[in-house]
């Protein structure tokens, strides 16, 4: 996992719950990196899982809810880094359809070693089905990011998963219904 995600998680936690909680989490989790994150460097995925687990326990919230909230927080921070073509997307669906072929392509140019999820699309006009595949199983982060994007485009959507890797499927199907 890239350091930028940890940095953003730190900002998310600090902005919501203060610097002390973040510090406690780092102390409690005894991370290999010692909580020293540089945005361009890679860190073990287990560090994120450990931190998320700590915050879930500490805040008494389930992991999907916490990760979704973080995704929603993360979107505007990542959006500023998106390529111009993606920024010029006219609506949410157009933007979402660009993730695989434009945004991820640009990310790989900057970070050739980045391990990105793969998306397949099924566009049914009113609905868009995004088939998520990643060994990290961070489908809830994707849901949060999509929700953040909907907020950015000021569109009302309902998001649900019709199948999920956390329940044994080989992919997650995230269904976005545009109202």
């Amino acid at each position: 996992m890239k350091g930028i995600v940890f940095n953003q998680l730190q900002e998310f936690v600090e902005s919501e719950h203060g610097i002390v909680l973040w510090d406690k989490a780092l102390t409690a989790c005894d991370l290999p990196s010692q909580g020293v994150y540089v945005s361009t460097m890679n860190y073990d995925d287990s560090e994120l899982q450990g931190l998320v687990g700590f915050f879930c326990n500490h805040l008494s919230v389930d992991a999907p809810t916490l990760v979704r909230a973080f995704g929603e927080y993360l979107f505007p921070r990542l959006f500023v880094m998106a390529p111009d073509q993606a920024k010029e997307a006219k609506n949410l669906k157009a933007f979402l359809l660009m993730i695989e072929d434009i945004i991820h392509v640009e990310v790989r140019k900057l970070y050739p070693d980045a391990s990105l999820p793969e998306f397949d699309y099924q566009d049914n006009n009113q609905d868009l089905l995004m088939l998520y595949r990643s060994p990290r199983k961070l489908c809830h982060l994707s849901e949060g990011l999509i929700k953040g994007a909907a907020t950015h485009y000021q569109e009302k959507v309902s998001i649900k998963q019709t199948c999920c890797m956390h329940h044994g499927a080989d992919h997650c199907a995230i269904e976005i219904t545009f109202s």
Partner: protein
């Protein structure tokens, strides 16, 4: 409250520590990136230089490849190649020479750029110097060495000196064998490209390698160019031979015509002599008749005015005239004179016709195809051979009028006379010659049929072959039918022969009908 503050301060301190550590890592990372960028930049510059270098080499090779197929001769091709190599190598004199089967140097070519020519050393290095220098080299040994190596490389020329006292100029020599032609005796002609450098520093190894890569293309181009050159010369030779053949054929046609004329001359002389004989005899008779007529009117010489005014005189004159008229048979003389004159005129017309036919037949210069009437051509041809067929031969003709074709009178006459004479020769004891000429379906068909001894099947295939004859030696040239065949081909006529031993032979000639619009 104080605990909270302490906790916050402690958290902030740790956070600061982490941030500082992260900054250090970032700085190290930045240095790594910076070094990577520098190295990439250096690599990129090297690659750019290499690409630029390759581009130059490619441009050189492309330029050579473009020109190589456009030049006319192998010499021009080699000269252009050397010139391009000189410019490409910058500091070298480029030469080409061939070591022939006798291990002598031939086809020596030398090129240098204008810049090089100004150089004090290279200025004196000319073709005479090079030629002199190469004469001192053991070419047999050098050739053997180059064949063995079969690639571009440096050659220590001093190792091949025949005369060890000879002082070679201080040169670095790079040689590339270009082609090797091996003949049946396993002797070689070896084409060698040779680059001379004064200084080792001027040698650009990669450029020589690039030139070396072009060797097979150059060898192929030279081979093709030589083949083209040789082919062009062969085509020219063939054209010349063809022109000679055409001239010879024309001479043969005329010779054959003259031979036919020779064969016919006795008959023609006889044909002319006959009418001339009776015209002479007629004229002799006419001379006697004139004498008698003069005698018959001689009393008129003595007429005077007195005689006419005297009744006795007039009577006596009339009586004398009457007696002479009766005794000399003047009415018969006048009647017979008229007949003699008519007969003489007929005889002379016959002579005139024969001479006219002969003139058409013997005309040699005019081979133009014009509108001709085949019936008239056949009739004239028959006239020419009439004496040959006068006795023991029955000639039957069925010639339609207005059988016009595009042809040449004289040449066609030659064909028909040849066919008629062949027919006569095949009917040694006499026979029947049937000649027909009919026009139908836009074709004019002429049949010449005899009832002679016929042609054997094996001979039938050969009858149009030049110099083939079944006649006894000295009796025929063997060219008659072959020439007739070529004449008929020029007339776009088809010729068909049917023959049966003991029954006879039929020649069928088919011509296209003449149409005005064809002219």
């Amino acid at each position: 409250m104080s605990d909270c503050k302490d906790e916050l301060i402690a958290a902030l301190e740790r956070s600061l520590g982490r941030e500082r550590q992260a900054r250090k890592i970032s700085e190290v990372q930045l240095e790594v990136y910076s070094r990577d960028i520098y190295e990439s930049n250096v690599q990129l510059k090297a690659q750019t230089k290499e690409v630029s270098y390759k581009q130059k080499h490619l441009a050189f090779l492309t330029g050579l490849a473009e020109n190589i197929w456009q030049l006319e001769t192998p010499q021009a091709l080699l000269e252009n190649y050397l010139k391009e190599c000189c410019t490409f190598l910058s500091h070298s004199v480029a030469t080409f020479f061939e070591i022939n089967k006798s291990n002598q140097v031939s086809q020596l070519i030398l090129k240098k750029t204008e810049d090089i020519a100004q150089h004090p050393f290279y200025a004196t290095f000319d073709i005479a110097t090079l030629s002199h220098m190469l004469q001192k080299i053991d070419m047999k040994a050098l050739k053997r060495h180059l064949i063995k190596k079969d690639s571009g490389h440096y050659v220590e020329l001093s190792a091949y000196l025949k005369d060890t006292h000879y002082c070679l100029p201080n040169l670095h020599v790079h040689m590339q064998p270009i082609y090797r032609n091996v003949d049946q005796a396993d002797e070689d002609n070896l084409g060698v490209m040779c680059f001379f450098y004064q200084s080792h520093n001027d040698i650009k190894e990669l450029k020589l390698q690039t030139i070396n890569t072009f060797r097979p293309t150059l060898a192929l181009a030279l081979q093709r160019k030589r083949a083209e050159y040789s082919m062009r010369n062969k085509v020219l030779e063939l054209e010349k031979a063809n022109n000679n053949l055409t001239t010879l054929q024309a001479h043969l046609v005329e010779s054959e015509k003259l031979a036919s004329l020779g064969l016919l001359s006795a008959g023609i002389a006889h044909e002319i002599n006959n009418p001339l004989g009776f015209v002479m005899s007629n004229l002799d008779t006419m001379q006697d008749y004139l004498t008698d007529l003069h005698t018959a009117i001689s009393p008129l010489d003595s007429i005077t005015p007195e005689t006419l005014n005297s009744p006795d005189g007039a009577y006596n004159l009339a009586l004398a005239l009457k007696q002479l008229n009766d005794s000399l048979e003047v009415p018969y003389l006048l009647k017979d004179s008229q007949e003699i004159l008519d007969s003489s005129l007929t005889g002379l017309h016959r002579v005139k016709e024969i001479v006219a036919d002969l003139r058409v037949f013997s005309r040699m210069d005019n081979h133009a195809l014009v509108k001709v009437d085949l019936e008239s051509v056949i009739s004239r041809s028959l006239n020419m051979v009439s004496n040959e067929l006068k006795y023991e031969y029955h000639v039957e003709t069925a010639l339609n009028k207005d059988c016009y074709i595009l042809g040449n009178d004289g040449q066609l006459q030659q064909v028909f006379i040849n066919l008629f004479m062949n027919a006569k020769h095949s009917m040694e004891a006499g026979g029947k010659l049937k000649i027909s000429c009919v026009s139908h379906d836009e074709r004019v068909v002429v049949c010449v049929e005899d009832n002679g001894h016929g042609i054997k099947e094996k001979d039938l295939k050969e009858i149009f072959t030049p110099f083939f004859t079944t006649k006894a030696p000295g009796k025929g040239t063997g060219l008659g039918l072959s020439i007739s065949y070529s004449i008929l081909q020029e007339h776009h006529a088809e010729i068909e022969v049917k023959s049966e031993i003991g029954k006879g032979t039929t020649f069928t000639l088919t011509f296209a009908v003449y149409y005005e619009q064809r002219c």
